[in-house]
Symmetry: D2
Subunit: 342 residues, 4 copies
């Protein structure tokens, strides 16, 4: 079978490294180009010694030129840059999988509220399919532009959407408290991210109005079938490389039981190979999804406050970024959905 | 000045090690005995090489005998054992500072609900003063039995009590999401606590009915002046040695503003040397209280859900255990409250 | 093609977990049994939640019974137990890949010197092929019993053997200083391995007469073509999960240059897919072999002491244990040597 | 008693933070100024939130002006800057304690060889007393300029000097393999030091000609009473905040025994409060000197290679930098040598 030709834009960060790790073992694709503005011309091993011997070099990110050489483009660029790359690629018929947040919101107004600038191509917001296969698999099969779900959102939406859809929890008063490993901040050379500042440190940040908030609220509202939701999302930085744990509190609606929740999850995810629901009353643990594409979910019920408490973990670089993009690409191109991901 | 003679019961765990670290530099005390059932007869350096050269050996925990040799006893024993030690010590006039949870609850019924056994000495529950100096300093000056506040409770009560007392936040719907370093589990030799199981792992546990919950609810209710409160307390284990971060969401009452909160904290803690309130909108960070007796507090307000969000950090072994006990002891014996703690 | 039926003995430790991670994605094998004395009867997910959904349960380690059900057996048992399992398996024609140190020494006398007991089956010491494919690939193609190279030895032998064979370094005065992550100690529930004891801790141990020493000396002597060698091997425990770094100092023989060393390595490893030699003067880094089957080697020369200094890193659970066993098995059964390992 | 007025130059790095931690609890000093070129004008809490409430602000590093306000100056500046500060301070009669490497070498030629520039004030090299109290206490009592011993050198010199002086080990063939926590690199914002690059990473660096090498060789030669020595010093970066472990191999001279070594150490350090020698055959562990001013030493003998193997640990920021400087200052000003350090 002919291999899908893939170009990775912005391949010198952690998501890029994880994409290469996955794509180089993927039997259905050929990596035809990896771009990096500042490393153009250098072999991939200069940036990532683990790829010593891999015959790939970074090239400048010329979308127009690369459009002719690939079937799929995965964009792992910093926020705000995806549009200028996506347009020429889409025009040339290339399928685009964007790992950034640029096309995730359906509302250009929300985009402006949280990003403080007008969206450069609001028509693409409508066109983009939200890249969370467990929620939008059918749409992904024919998508041209995929806005891969973010890391915090993936860990928040997968455990809540089925419960909201089933009406067993209230749309009001939801609290998502998340902890992320440091790769979640990207390969950023900044004082707060040097080792001695992160080690033995755990802290909340962006507790009001984090940019992932509207994405989470949007998808929760879609699942619940309501026009809008307002929740609290509290991210924390934890001293580990990879992993997100989201602990989510929801008000139980009458009739909500652990058994009922178990059934809803079974119906939603019993057949999903990348979602693992634990037996009732257990809690998820980031180490069991480390370097995997799996989302692990645990669920509990607290009678004394009438709360459903779910815990959900992913690897932020795999299911939260690179793995998700490849899973979406596999679906789009009719490949085995798990290829390269196990 | 004559030195206070101190005995430490249960000195072979992490709280015991931290107590020794503090007491050995404390200019107002003399450590007359350290007990450990399993290490009795061994020099302290056998268990803690850092104390090589310190002329102390563990003795068997014979409270009756040691009662005659000390003015103060600090109990760092596993839960459930404090009563049998406290009674003979109190009878002999020794001031007792208990680091365990055994005397923290005022209600014997709550104790039974959470610990599944009758409290062995309910009369001591009433007698005990809750060992949180910033809340009960005056009572501590004359206390015979001090139930030192727990680690999670200290990080939860200090930032919430003044706000509850002032009525700017609701007593309903409070969520406390905490992350603790692994020493919080004690020096426990058990599979979940070995390095490879904890490293790159973050997980919730005890999300329903954790034993620290009734203690937190009790003190919050006292502060609010209500008979009872029900909150959610969600502890997590994080890959670090020391530190607790508690992120707390509360419903704002009408008129609650960041400025008002700042004033309330200033009135409550402006003069406290072990509470540090950050400027508005900042978040606390465990690394800035590492190996200190300080509680650092940050506060935020989220208009879109009308929540007050406070973050609060302590070192679980210092302000959450050993440091707190020494601070209480300093107060009780009229010493400089900060002696040994800076 | 018919799949190789594999049984894993002692599958509840870290090497067992890593074996399962590899074998479950391996397209040429079927895992027919996993054994664990204490977990017999339990589904694999009880011990390793990451394998939730994998339809495997632990069985008791009955070698005679399992011999009839498998083509290959991988032994990941504690030291000293391999013989009793290997004999019935070998008798039944099963190919045995032992991850322990039980069959690695050729000399029963050395075994007794370091293990303090007589070897239970010295004839197997002769029969066993040392499982280091880059040194013994041809022998491995027909081996019945493979004594997979240890973790420290692999990181020590791969970078030194070609230099010793070429005579560019002296057989005298070699120093190997190694640092290992904590999984190197196994999934051992013991005080020195709990998180707070390992974190922020780095220490040497077993600095005289470590059990991996004779294995390293044996293989170095074989490479050098001398009857015996005596070196210093100094292991350290470092606060990380996985990874071994070995820094090795050797006395340069006349004519030894960096260029010459580069040529020797190119000849030895230029065609090897699991050995990566860095450009001269660089140092290897454990993070670049994390969760891979690769050994990365860097080399330097210090003129002021006339020493060749090589650094060598592996992942102790992959190239140092499970990956190595699978690589050997792939060779033995004529499969692609890298199957399951990329 | 009148307090010593201390100015800290270059107080915004990790050594500066540690100096403040120590000096703020020191009862014999008053911190009159802290300098930082880039943070001048900012309160100390802007850079180090732990010092919130401490009434100190950074000022520009004007040595001439500050000379009139202080009795002692501690320089925690980047390498190469100390001379321009030291000269005006010394001229004004201020005692100078330099934490950098600028005045540690006695030979201007060696300085040029390793630093590639002429030393700006070679006359100060002679004047400077090497700041390692356990070796040069008497000279320190009257020193005007103290070149505090470096972190790697301290951990290398303390365990070797007495053995070299006693002639029980050879001056030839010494190997020092050291591992340092990441604060050893300073508070440097550079890609190799961000958390995900350091975590699960252990690597050698600077294996040939590290700048601490001539300092170690110089002090070893002084101890041995020989004009020059050549050793191998191999530093590694380990995933922890603080701590240096140095493992040192030396050729035993005839008559060298563990007992003899124990006696030599007892004579050298039995009375030292900041050196702790473990019983024979034990190994030192960085965690037992964490945030202390202690150097812990373990010693072993390997008969099969006739090597003495010592392990030595310090906290690189305390005994390796700030604590050492304060210890030297205490000696110079006739204060209790341990003041502020326990």
């Amino acid at each position: 079978m002919k291999k899908i030709r893939v170009a990775v834009f912005g391949a010198s960060g952690y998501a890029g490294e994880e994409l290469l790790r996955i794509l180089l073992r993927h039997r259905g694709v050929e990596v035809v180009a990896i771009t990096s503005r500042k490393n153009a011309g250098e072999p991939v091993s200069t940036v990532f010694p683990r790829f010593t011997g891999v015959p790939l070099s970074f090239v400048a990110p010329d979308a127009a030129e690369l459009a002719g050489q690939c079937d799929a483009a995965i964009l792992a660029l910093p926020h705000g840059l995806a549009t200028e790359f996506a347009i020429p690629l889409l025009n040339a018929g290339v399928k685009v999988f964007d790992i950034s947040a640029d096309f995730r919101l359906k509302s250009a107004a929300k985009y402006k509220e949280y990003y403080k600038v007008d969206h450069p191509a609001p028509e693409l917001l409508e066109k983009a399919v939200y890249g969370l296969p467990e929620r939008y698999r059918e749409k992904l099969r024919t998508a041209d532009l995929v806005a891969c779900a973010g890391c915090y959102p993936t860990s928040s939406i997968l455990p809540t959407a089925p419960l909201l859809a089933a009406g067993v929890v209230s749309t009001e008063g939801i609290v998502v408290a998340s902890c992320s490993g440091v790769t979640g901040a990207g390969r950023k050379v900044d004082l707060p991210y040097i080792f001695p500042e992160c080690n033995e440190s755990l802290k909340a940040y962006g507790v009001v109005g984090h940019r992932h908030l509207p994405e989470i609220e949007q998808e929760m509202a879609f699942a619940a079938g309501v026009p809008e939701m307002a929740i609290n999302f509290i991210p924390h930085l934890a001293p580990m490389n990879r992993g997100i744990n989201s602990t989510i509190l929801m008000n139980a609606e009458p009739g909500c039981t652990l058994e009922k929740i178990g059934e809803i999850y079974e119906a939603a995810y019993g057949h999903e190979q990348f979602v693992r629901v634990l037996p009732a009353k257990r809690c998820a643990d980031t180490k069991y999804v480390f370097m995997t594409n799996t989302c692990e979910i645990g669920y509990n019920y607290d009678a004394h406050t009438n709360k459903v408490i779910v815990t959900s973990v992913i690897d932020n670089l795999t299911k939260g970024a690179a793995g998700q993009a490849v899973q979406c690409m596999n679906i789009r191109f009719g490949l085995d959905e798990a290829e390269g991901l196990i």
